[in-house]
Symmetry: C2
Subunit: 225 residues, 2 copies
DNA sequence: GTCTATATAATGATAGAC
DNA sequence: GTCTATCATTATATAGAC
């Protein structure tokens, strides 16, 4: 397995540049990262970065491609099980894969061309996983499986995107074990027993959204934020 | 109520500049927005922007302050009910408040000094709302109320941060009614009945995380992403 | 493949007139 | 308060030597 840290000498320069770019783009963001900084991180000259990738934008595309291929494999077909397995691996060794996780989080919030494809793939994977688990009797059926998959997807990604905030709140460094341990059981608890004690709020919302032409109130969201 | 759109002439220049900055920072991000672009949006010269705010960074701080004061009020004390009420108002009229919602989402992902305070306030508000609802018998008690509040908070914010992705998936323009309507019932469904049919996965995780010194596996997250 | 040196454009910020 | 003109810095990207 290729290391995510940059140890100059063991890879060719173009790979070192790409890896350095992933680290810095993921850590500081695309705009805050200069070609010079990438060159310094990779131990090469700024000119070589452009020589290999043509432009900063092309380098970003190369990083997007690399990360998505690491996640999904070279095959264009979406393999939900491989994606889940790969994500598990990254999350299981955060110290090593943090740059890739950071880059992934950046991809999801900087809506680039690759961003939409990535989100669609994650959503599709969640959808098919939930379908399989529903068929296996593990997960409850849903009236709107697509919407449910979207909710589960964005909720899962939320911990990734806001991992810095969560780590700080839990007195942990950045996506450390303490945070993961602290979140796991309550998350599964929520997904097992829900939050509300009875159907009152759900039924109230159903009534409010029921067929009634003059009803265009903006749907009671009931403190879900 | 002050309008969030920029119609030059009805406000003093410094307010127009600040509002323009909120629009552009929220839409394009801090780094992609130049002082010149803000000046053009506000209908003033670039020099005036610096004259009023000293620097781009100070202008950003002023925007952070403005948005947080709009959310929480001028009082430093955290008032959960006011915050919830204000968020409802913004979400109920997305067309008007989109710039503020966008700016809010940017604040949460660009971890600035104000970002941590904002997140803490949102978390605290969620926590106290859940506490009140628990006491009222509406919400189930939790073994780890802080962790549960964190999960609910980031999950709620996830829809805000990834609203562009969600809108696209639901064939809607950007946080439109279709998306909100489509998400509301499944979200409440999830919060009412949960996702899993029984306790198997929860119990498996509890066992895996049970007191066992040699067990430092990275906690099975079971496809929540 | 890799470097140094440089061109060119855009940025944040300043100075001074009005 | 507001503008125009400009400075100094930094950015990406190019050119050509080795």
């Amino acid at each position: 397995m290729r290391s995510a840290s940059s140890s100059p000498g063991d890879r060719v320069a173009s790979a070192r540049i790409r890896d350095a770019a992933i680290v810095l783009f993921g850590r500081d963001g695309l705009e805050r990262t200069s070609v010079r900084a990438i060159a310094a991180e990779a131990g090469v000259s700024p000119g070589l970065v452009i020589h290999h990738f043509g432009s900063k934008e092309n380098l970003r595309d190369a990083c997007d491609l690399f990360i998505t291929e690491e996640l999904f494999g070279r095959k264009s077909a979406l393999d939900a099980s491989r994606l889940n397995e790969q994500l598990q691996r990254w999350l299981a060794d955060v110290d090593q894969f943090r740059p890739w996780l950071d880059y992934l989080a950046r991809m999801l919030i900087d809506d680039s061309p690759a961003s939409g494809r990535l989100f669609d793939a994650l959503l599709g994977s969640t959808r098919s996983t939930l379908d399989a688990q529903t068929e296996a009797g593990l997960v409850r059926p849903s009236d709107d499986p697509d919407a449910r998959a979207a909710i589960v997807t964005v909720s899962g990604l939320a911990s990734l995107i806001m991992s810095k905030q969560l780590s700080r709140v839990f007195g942990d460094d950045y996506f450390g074990d303490a945070m993961v341990r602290r979140m796991t059981i309550p998350t599964l608890e929520l997904y097992t027993h829900g939050l509300y004690r009875d159907d009152r709020i759900l039924e109230a919302a159903r009534t409010a959204l029921a067929p009634s032409p003059d009803n265009d109130r903006p749907t009671p969201k009931e403190n879900t934020a």
